[in-house]
């Protein structure tokens, strides 16, 4: 018999789930029997990042619910069951499936629905909305057969949806009723720049368009007719013209409503019935519906506090936003339209680099009231803090948005912020809370994220969190040691500069000038890699050979028993039958265990040290060259067959893959590099999980960067679109050059980008806009490496002295008797310890 009072939550969207997740952390969880209804077939997922569904995330990836959450906390979840009525007299909720639950307290978190303008034809086939995962699946289905897609609505969500349509490979249009994009957040100049940038990405924008009819198309499924007499043919129509609160339940049970909808709530988020709360997009507070997730979260926390009898109020929320729309940084803070009395405006516009910034400042020039940023939102964090915390502006506020010059004020340091400053608005984490977490032992951003959840929502505050962390660590007397090892009091980046600028050619010289001791297995390979990156010398020269890790030292990959594996280069995964046969013959002759790799080549295992030279002599005679599988360098460029064979192929991905692989082979880098090239958006080469990914589109090559598979998978970021081959290669040259210069030792591009101050926007500014003025040097550097390529095995085979190293014994031709193979599935493999014992007995008998 359950004697606890019952708390019913209707709706398991982002806000409903945030409420539950915070409730179970509070003592209140033991006070109530908790029941929740979820209309959708799956519990809460991340609608903010919905478009990532099309760049590869699954419904599971987007889920906001830890597995076992409901069971673990004893919450009864009615999944796929919609609450259909509330009886306030008997205090019961009835569901579509006929479940009736008596409540003591009720929380409405029913969210909103997309507004579809009542245009004739709005319910025609392939006229869809963008709200749920089911909507996405319907879009995907519609995109299969279609070529053109139109988004109705040029607001924040509409542009997100347009990104989704381009990801689906559709020719995309955005139709907006207002004279500009993102009319709520941006002023005219900001909207115009955003439009230009989005049109550069191949999306056609139509403003001042009023749709009057949707009807049969001639070339497409649908035709849209506009009030001004123009027409647009399209297969898919996606309505994203704003949201409306889902308030029908509340309306039916007689709660107070706003004149234009929304469930009226007070500062405690109570409706006109004190036992019923409403939170999120269904709630109307002070005449406002908040269509962002952060205010909804704040409401959820207010209700929990109120249930616990604490004094808590929801007092409105800041609607500032920063986001990346189709790769374009856009941010809006506070009073972006300068509606405050006497407000002064400063603006900076640079059409060449595509940047627009506007500050709205109080009449006395003391405080920041609002801001608009397009093209470069790197100062968002600083400006938001000025605005939210009423921090006094510098004497010349315009310096905050002018391009950096020597006398420009630096970003607002963490020290300038009061303890109460809200750093993460998604989870309402203050500077104080972060400092406390640091005092409690957090020393990295990852630890902070796990401990406080800061920067795990939209991620917009990540760099600010990092600077608060660093400032606090310094304050608490930590010194963050970034020395490479005990022999060099420098970072890898420092050493790279010392080598490059000082023209240093050997480890011995670097150690003598800038280090101490004899070196170790950390600094030696790191410096060897830097020297190779800079000068591209043959790595087994006497002055370099002893620096190399065993894989580089013997140009093969060591295995657990001390034997090596051999991987010849098969550029782009393309191989002639003759070469494939040659590989097979070598493998057979030397009895090498043979396996196909994930990078579309062939790995031959079990070669003894002394077998490596003869194996390579035969491989080179058959036309192979080294595959650098042993090096921190370019491994493979994976590709699909592309337009040459594939009926869906848009461009010749295999040819491009081969060209890229041949260009960058041999480039020594901080860690290994993997590329992928796909011939269409079906992405068979999995390019978006690679350091460099290229995907063919009708308009040219799309470049993705800094993806990763492996231990810590990361989807690559779209870096540039519709590139011709020359520009693509130029960008890759610059990117790799910059990575080689600035990454840490053994830092993959994915981690490098995440650690890069300013992130993707900064990387684009460096590579595309040449913000640092170094692109010429970067290109020259890469070209020099390309020009000085040599097959290391070919060089090695020509040098008797080098070949001496490839013996197990310096004084005998015998082999290592600890290496023992047994047969399995028709091939050899290393014997395990037991098998080896048996073998030794057999041999001695």
């Amino acid at each position: 018999m359950n004697t606890k009072p019952t708390l019913v939550v209707i709706g398991n969207g982002m806000v409903g789930q945030h409420f539950l997740a915070n409730l179970v952390l509070s003592p209140m969880k033991d006070e109530y029997h908790i029941v929740t209804f979820c209309e959708e077939p799956r519990p809460a997922y991340d609608r903010v990042h919905l478009s990532e569904f099309f760049s590869g995330k699954t419904a599971e990836d987007l889920s906001l619910v830890e597995p076992g959450f409901f069971e673990q906390h004893g919450i009864t979840l009615h999944l796929g069951d919609k609450a259909v009525s509330i009886d306030r007299a008997s205090k019961t909720v009835m569901s579509a499936r006929g479940i009736e639950i008596a409540y003591d307290k009720l929380v409405l978190a029913t969210g909103s629905y997309p507004f579809v303008p009542p245009v004739p034809g709005h319910d025609r086939p392939q006229c869809l909305v963008y709200r749920t995962i089911e909507d996405l699946v319907a879009m995907q289905a519609a995109a299969q057969s279609g070529k053109v897609g139109v988004v109705v609505g040029g607001g924040l969500l509409g542009l997100e949806a347009a990104k989704a349509l381009t990801d689906l490979g559709l020719k995309t249009h955005v139709v907006e009723f207002a004279p500009r994009l993102m009319a709520v957040q941006l002023d005219e100049a900001g909207g115009a720049l955003l439009r230009r940038k989005i049109e550069d990405l191949g999306v056609t924008v139509h403003t001042n368009k009023n749709t009057s009819l949707i009807t049969d198309g001639e070339n497409c499924v649908n035709k849209m007719c506009f009030a001004d007499g123009t027409e647009l043919e399209t297969d898919l129509v996606l309505f994203s013209a704003g949201i409306r609160p889902r308030d029908e339940l509340a309306r039916l049970c007689g709660l107070d409503m706003g004149a234009r909808g929304g469930i009226s709530i007070n500062n405690q988020c109570q409706t006109s019935d004190a036992d019923i709360y409403a939170i999120g997009e269904c709630a109307l507070w002070n005449g406002m519906i908040y269509g962002l997730v952060a205010p909804g979260y704040a409401m959820a926390r207010t209700v929990i506090a109120h249930l616990a009898g604490k004094y808590a109020s929801f007092m409105g929320a800041d609607m500032s936003t920063k986001l990346k729309l189709m790769g374009v940084d856009v941010a809006s803070i506070g009073d972006a339209h300068a509606k405050s009395q006497g407000a002064l405006v400063y603006s900076y516009q640079n059409d060449d680099s595509g940047i627009y910034k506007r500050l709205v400042v109080s009449q006395d020039k003391q405080f920041l009231l609002g801001a608009v940023l397009v093209g470069d939102a790197s100062s968002y964090g600083t400006l938001l803090q000025y605005c939210l915390n009423g921090i006094e502006l510098p004497e010349n506020p315009e310096t905050l948005i002018l391009p950096a010059s020597a006398d420009a004020p630096v970003a607002l340091g963490a020290d300038a912020l009061p303890g109460s400053a809200q750093i993460c608005s998604c989870f309402d984490i203050s500077k104080e809370a972060i400092c406390q977490a640091v005092s409690a032992g957090c020393t990295t951003v990852d630890q902070l994220k796990a401990e406080t959840k800061a920067a795990t929502g939209c991620g917009g505050c990540a760099s600010l969190v990092k600077s608060v962390l660093n400032a606090e660590l310094t304050q608490q007397g930590y010194t963050v040691n970034t020395d490479l090892c005990e022999h060099f009091a420098y970072t890898r980046q420092d050493l790279f500069s010392l080598v490059k600028v000082g023209g240093i050619k050997t480890f011995a010289d670097l150690l003598a000038q800038h280090g101490k001791g004899k070196g170790c297995e950390i600094c030696k390979p790191a410096v060897a890699s830097i020297l190779a990156s800079c000068w591209n010398d043959y790595i087994l020269k006497p002055e370099h050979a002893h620096l190399q890790d065993t894989n580089d030292a013997f140009l093969a990959n060591i295995q657990k028993d001390g034997t090596y594996s051999v991987v010849p280069r098969v550029a782009g995964g393309e191989i002639t039958p003759d070469k494939l046969i040659a590989l097979g013959q070598v493998a057979k002759k030397y009895q090498l265990y043979t396996k196909i790799t994930g990078g579309q080549r062939v790995d031959l295992f079990g070669a003894r040290l002394e077998q490596l030279p003869p194996i390579w002599a035969e491989l080179i005679a058959a036309g192979f060259e080294t595959g650098h599988a042993y090096g921190k360098s370019l491994r493979t460029v994976k590709s699909c067959v592309g337009s040459v064979w594939c009926r869906y192929g848009v461009d010749d991905s295999a040819a491009l893959a081969i060209e890229l692989e041949n260009r960058y082979k041999g480039l020594r880098s901080p860690h290994k590099l993997k590329f992928g090239v796909s011939g269409c958006t079906r992405e068979c080469a999995e390019a978006q999980s690679k350091d460099i990914g290229v995907i063919a589109t009708e308009n040219g090559w799309n470049l993705y960067v800094c993806g990763n598979g492996g231990m810590r998978p990361r989807h690559a970021d779209l870096f540039a679109t519709a590139l011709d081959k020359a520009t693509l290669i130029q960008y890759i040259d610059r990117l790799l050059g910059f990575y080689v210069r600035t990454a840490d030792r053994l830092q993959r591009t994915s981690v490098w980008l995440e650690a890069l101050e300013g992130g993707l926007g900064y990387l684009k500014a460096v590579v595309i806009d040449d913000k640092l003025g170094i692109c010429g040097q970067l290109e020259e550097h890469i070209q020099q490496v390309v020009d000085s390529y040599q097959c290391e095995w070919q060089t090695t085979l020509q040098d008797e002295d080098k070949l001496k190293r490839f013996r197990h014994f310096v004084n005998s031709d015998r082999s290592d008797d600890n290496v023992v193979f047994v047969e399995e599935r028709g091939q050899l493999r290393p014997a395990d310890a037991n098998e080896r014992k048996h073998y030794q007995i057999v041999e001695t008998v």
Partner: protein, 108 residues
């Protein structure tokens, strides 16, 4: 009674690195630091990896102590004592070794 055996020439050694010699059936890793004209000899068998690979490790110093890092799992073994710096109680044998004229001599 120690018997010095000449196993190879100095020119067979690798500068600032190791080679492996077979001495009376024992695998001996010989490390050569030409700057100090110093040689060191350890067992080639890495007990933590169960493989004969120590001669292929990188040599260096940790807090002034000369060490070789195993190429498989990177544990450090002291060139002078054979002790593993990361695993208490684990050590590899140390053998007397010297340069005699053009030859390299080891006792096992």
């Amino acid at each position: 009674m120690t018997t010095w055996q000449t196993v190879c020439e100095v020119t067979d050694l690798q500068a600032d690195a190791g080679v492996c010699a077979l001495v009376d059936g024992v695998q001996v890793a010989i490390f050569y630091l030409p700057a100090e004209a110093a040689v060191f000899a350890l067992g080639n068998y890495d007990p933590l990896a169960d493989a004969n690979v120590l001669a292929r490790g990188i040599i260096g110093d940790i807090g002034g102590e000369l060490v070789v890092a195993s190429p498989l799992y990177k544990q450090h073994f002291s060139l002078s004592t054979g002790a593993c710096l990361e695993a208490d109680g684990v050590a590899v044998p140390v053998y007397p070794v010297r340069i005699a004229g053009a030859g390299v001599q080891v006792c096992v």
